[in-house]
C-alpha cells in the first residue's frame, strides 16, 4: 500500500525534462543529479518534493532517452509512485526494473486528480483511492512477474535471488 500527496505534471514529460542533458556530468552521482529532477517542468519540484509523494502525469510520460537515471532520480528524490494516462515504453520498463511502480490510469481519473490531493494506492488489487476527494479508480493489476520485481526492489535483486530471469 502506497500513500502520498500529488504533484501534477502535464503531457509528454520527456526524459530530457526529468534528467536534463546539461547535468550529464552528474550521472555517476545520483543524489546530486536528483537535485535537478524535473526542474525544467517545475522549478519547485526538486526543492520541495517529500518522501512518499506521488507524481501524476498526462499521456506518454517519460518519452525519449533510455537513460535509466530518469526513473532512478525520481526514486532517489523520494517519489513512491508515478500515475499517468500512458507511459513511454523504455521509461516504463526502466521504472519496473528499478522497483518504482508506474500505473496507467486510463479513464478520467487523471484529469480529476488535483495538485496536493492525498492518494492511497493498492498495487496488488489495482485500486487508487483519492482520500481528499473521496473517489476511487481502478487499474489492471501488474502480472505476477512484475509484482515480484517491484516487491523485491528491482530486476537486479530478482535475478540474483532466482539466479536468472525465472520467466
Amino acid at each position: 500500500m502506497l500513500k502520498g500527496k500529488v504533484w501534477k505534471f502535464g503531457e509528454n514529460i520527456s526524459t530530457d525534462h526529468i534528467a536534463p542533458g546539461r547535468y550529464f556530468h552528474l550521472r555517476s552521482n545520483l543524489p546530486e543529479l536528483a537535485k535537478h529532477v524535473l526542474e525544467d517542468s517545475r522549478e519547485d519540484f526538486p526543492k520541495n518534493v517529500e518522501k512518499g509523494d506521488i507524481i501524476v502525469g498526462g499521456k506518454n510520460f517519460g518519452l525519449g532517452s533510455s537513460r535509466e537515471h530518469a526513473p532512478r532520480i525520481i526514486k532517489v528524490a523520494g517519489v513512491s509512485c508515478i500515475i499517468a494516462k500512458s507511459f513511454a515504453r523504455i521509461f516504463y520498463r526502466n521504472s519496473i526494473n528499478i522497483g518504482l511502480p508506474v500505473i496507467e490510469l486510463k479513464d478520467n481519473g487523471i484529469d480529476e486528480i488535483n495538485e496536493k490531493d492525498l492518494l492511497e494506492i493498492d498495487t496488488e488489487k489495482g485500486i487508487v483511492l483519492n482520500l481528499t476527494q473521496n473517489k476511487k479508480y481502478t487499474f489492471i493489476p501488474f502480472p505476477d512477474f512484475i509484482n515480484a520485481l517491484l516487491e523485491i526492489g528491482g530486476i537486479d535483486k530478482y535475478v540474483k535471488k532466482y539466479n536468472g530471469y525465472g520467466v
Partner: protein, 416 residues
Amino acid sequence: MGKTMVEKILSFHTKKDVIPGEIITVNVDLAFVQDGTGPLTIDQFEKLDFNNVKTKSLVFIDHASPSPRKELSNTQIKLRDFCKKTSAKIFDVGEGISHQIVVEKYARPGDVIVGADSHSCTSGALGAFATGMGSTDVALAYGLGKVWIKVPESYNIVLNGYLEKGVYAKDIILYLIGLIGSDGATYKALEFSGDALKYLSMESRLTISNMAVEAGAKVGLFPTDEKTKEFLKTYDRIKDFKEIFPDKDAIYEKVIEIDISKIEPQVSFPHTVDNTKNISEVKNIKIDQVYIGTCTNGRMEDLRIVASILKNKKKAEEVRLLIAPASKHIYLKALREGLIDIFVNSGATILPPGCGPCVGVHAGVLADGEKLLSTQNRNFKGRAGNPNSEIYLASPATAAATAITGYITDPREVLK
C-alpha cells in the same frame, strides 16, 4: 498462422512459436552502451557479481566525445577499464556514434540487438530486432547473454509512390510521426513495406528506423532485399546476409498506408517531435544555428545532399553551421570525396564524429532564446543543453538551404 518479422526473429531465437503479449527471455546477439548510460551498466554488472560478458558486447564513447569536463573524463576511464577487464570492445573518442558503427560492422538481418540508448532501433533497417533499453537491462544482457521482453504486436506501414525532388526519408518519418503522434505506436513493432521500398536506399531506411522510437515504437523493421545485400557488400560483410520478411498472411494490429509522393518537406516545431508542419506553412523563422549530423542524418547520403546545396555558396553570416559525420568511416569518405572542403568553404565548422550538439553535453550549446534547426531526432525542451532555446527538426536538405538563407527554407527553392 503467418508471422510478422518480429515474431519470426523472436521465434527463431527462442526455438518456439512466440505470440504477441507473451513475456519471454531471449538470447541476445549484440549488446552495447554509450558513455551516458555505460557507467551505470558497469556498476550494475559489478553488483550482480558478473565477471565476463556472455555475448558480443560493445562500449562507445560518443556522447561527451571528447570530454568537456573532468567528471566525464573520470567516468570514461571506468568504461575503458571495464573493456580491459572483460572481453567487451571499446570504440573510443573519434570513432563515431554507436548506432552507425553497429550497422557498419555488426548488425545482421535476424539478429536480436539491445543497446542502452533509445535509438538502438536504427539497426531495424537491416532486418534486425534492435531496441533501446536501460543500463541494468544491458548489464544483464552482458552478464547473462539474455534479456526479458514482451513480444510486441506489429503495425504494417505501407509506403507507396516516389519521393518528389527535395523530399527525403527524414520527411517520410517526420510525416508519419506527425500523423500518428509521439505515442502513436507505443510498445508496437513498426514493419515497413510497399512499392516505395525499392527506391529507398539503406541509408534512407536507417533514418526511418532510427526514429521509430519517436512514435513510441519498440523497433522499426525493414524486410531484407537487394539494398540490404548492397549495404553489407560495401562493408565487406555479405556473409552476414540472411533473408527476413513477413509471411503473406502475417497478422498486423494496424495497417497505415502512405503515398509518399504527396509528402512535402517537413519541419517539426518545438518542443515535441510530432509537432510537424508542411514547409509551405512555415514562414519567416530566423535560425541562429544549423546542425547537420547525428545518428539520424550524419551519413554519406546526407552529406552528399548537403554538399550539393552548399557547393560554391556561403552560409548566412548570422548563422553558425555545424556538421558532424556519424562515424570515422564516413568522415574519411567525405574527406576523399571533397565534401569536407565544400563544407568548410561554405563557412561550416566540422565537429568530430559523434553525437555532438544533439545531447546538449559539449559542442554547440545554444544561448537563451536562440533557435536551432537540426537533422537530429529530438526537439524536447532542453535537449540541446538549454531549456530556454528552441529546436526545429528537418532533413539535411532543408538544413543546408536554411544555413544559406538564415531562415527555415524549402530546399526545393535552392534545388531549382
